[in-house]
């Protein structure tokens, strides 16, 4: 544990060097990677943020401030083309632009919490499931 608990670290097995490093807050959770692995997504301090793996730098723009960024809620997902980020809070799905960090739209998704989100492999459909035992499939127009 080279730098204590509050860090996101990437280690190289061969050199045991630590090329990537970012200061994390106590409640932060890293949630996943975009398709080419260059960016990672995390929640922390009530926010969803994007993290550049190679340099350890944050993108300065947060996607959105969540009321409660609990890992129990559906994990944020990158779309396969990495242009969109979908995440949920309190029964809504928010679609954010992964590049600009802007919130694009909010979908009323479930009675109760949304437990999981999944993009179809072609990125055309987003599936959401939750406590109301309903599978919802969302699609949107390009451009």
């Amino acid at each position: 544990m080279p730098d204590g608990y509050n860090n996101a670290s990437v280690f190289d097995v061969d050199t045991r060097s630590n090329p990537s490093f970012a200061r994390m807050q106590p409640s932060d959770v890293l949630l996943g990677y975009n398709p080419d692995g260059s960016f990672a997504l995390w929640t922390g301090n009530g926010q969803v943020q994007i993290f550049r793996v190679e340099t350890g730098n944050f993108r300065s723009r947060d996607l959105r401030t969540l009321g409660v960024a609990s890992p129990k809620l559906a994990q944020p997902q990158f779309s396969p083309d990495a242009k969109l980020v979908a995440f949920s809070c309190q029964g809504n799905i928010d679609l954010g632009d992964a590049d600009s960090g802007q919130l694009l739209t909010r979908l009323r998704a479930a009675d109760g919490s949304v437990n999981a989100l999944a993009f179809s492999p072609d990125g055309r459909v987003l599936a959401s499931v939750g406590d109301d035992a309903t599978i919802r499939l969302w699609s949107w127009a390009d451009g």
Binding site: S113, V129, S139
Partner: protein, 226 residues
């Protein structure tokens, strides 16, 4: 009675607009411009096991996990301790996977070639199912008693299944069906139980995140040898 209800479980198409539309990936779903949020989803399936749905904070009574198959034709849906494979083309449940206990399937993951589905559950057993037959190809009993909210991850090349077990990440070479002995820093012991594991999309990194007693969390990724 409950078993009988499960036996009759089915997925019914229930479009948001009330019209009978069978979900299909061949015909476009209801679409909307991204800047104009729709009133409802393109399609909503009521997933009815015959049990009254009610808000349940832990999620075990609702649908806890969902995943698309790599070809986009199927959904894997976990509710309680039952996992179902739903075909989107004809909106039919093609396989019902039973064997998990304690009602809590946390995560479902298809292998990249769609041959397998890995599921993790509150019963501390990780199962890898053959999608075509519905039988269990690999059953992994995790040694740690604390395996809450844990997932399994296939490497992008489909060769490795990685599972968090307590403080370590264990790996299985799928071709051989054997556990891979840890090497290098992958043998690293995390400070506390791993909540989730993931490969980077290029397959070069494998990482896990954990939380420790004071609610601090950390993600550590390890570069895998080629």
């Amino acid at each position: 009675m409950f078993a009988e209800r499960l036996k009759n479980a089915k997925v019914q198409a229930e479009p948001a607009d009330g019209n009978q539309i069978r979900p299909s990936l061949d015909s476009p779903l209801l679409q909307f411009p991204l800047d104009k949020a729709p009133k409802g989803p393109a399609l909503a399936w009521k997933h009815d096991f015959g049990v009254l749905s009610r808000p349940f904070r832990t999620g075990v009574d609702g649908i806890g996990a969902v995943a698309f198959s790599p070809n986009g034709q199927d959904l894997a849906v976990a509710r309680g301790d039952v996992v179902e494979l739903c075909n989107l083309r004809d909106s039919a449940v093609t396989k019902t996977l039973r064997g998990h206990q304690m009602r809590g399937v946390f995560a479902v993951t298809f292998s990249p070639d769609r041959q397998y589905l890995a599921t993790t559950s509150a019963d501390s057993v990780v199962r890898m199912w053959r999608v075509t037959t519905g039988d269990v190809a690999l059953s992994i009993a995790r040694s740690s008693t604390y395996n809450h909210a844990n997932n399994a991850a296939f490497s992008p090349d489909g060769q490795i299944l990685a599972v968090g077990d307590g403080k370590t990440i264990r790996r299985w070479a799928l071709a051989a069906g054997e556990e891979t002995k840890p090497s290098g820093l992958v043998n690293y012991e995390y400070p506390t139980s791993i909540h989730a594991v993931s490969f980077s999309p290029d397959g070069l990194y494998l990482g896990g995140w954990v939380s420790v007693a004071n609610a601090r969390r950390i993600q550590q990724c390890f570069r895998l040898r080629r």
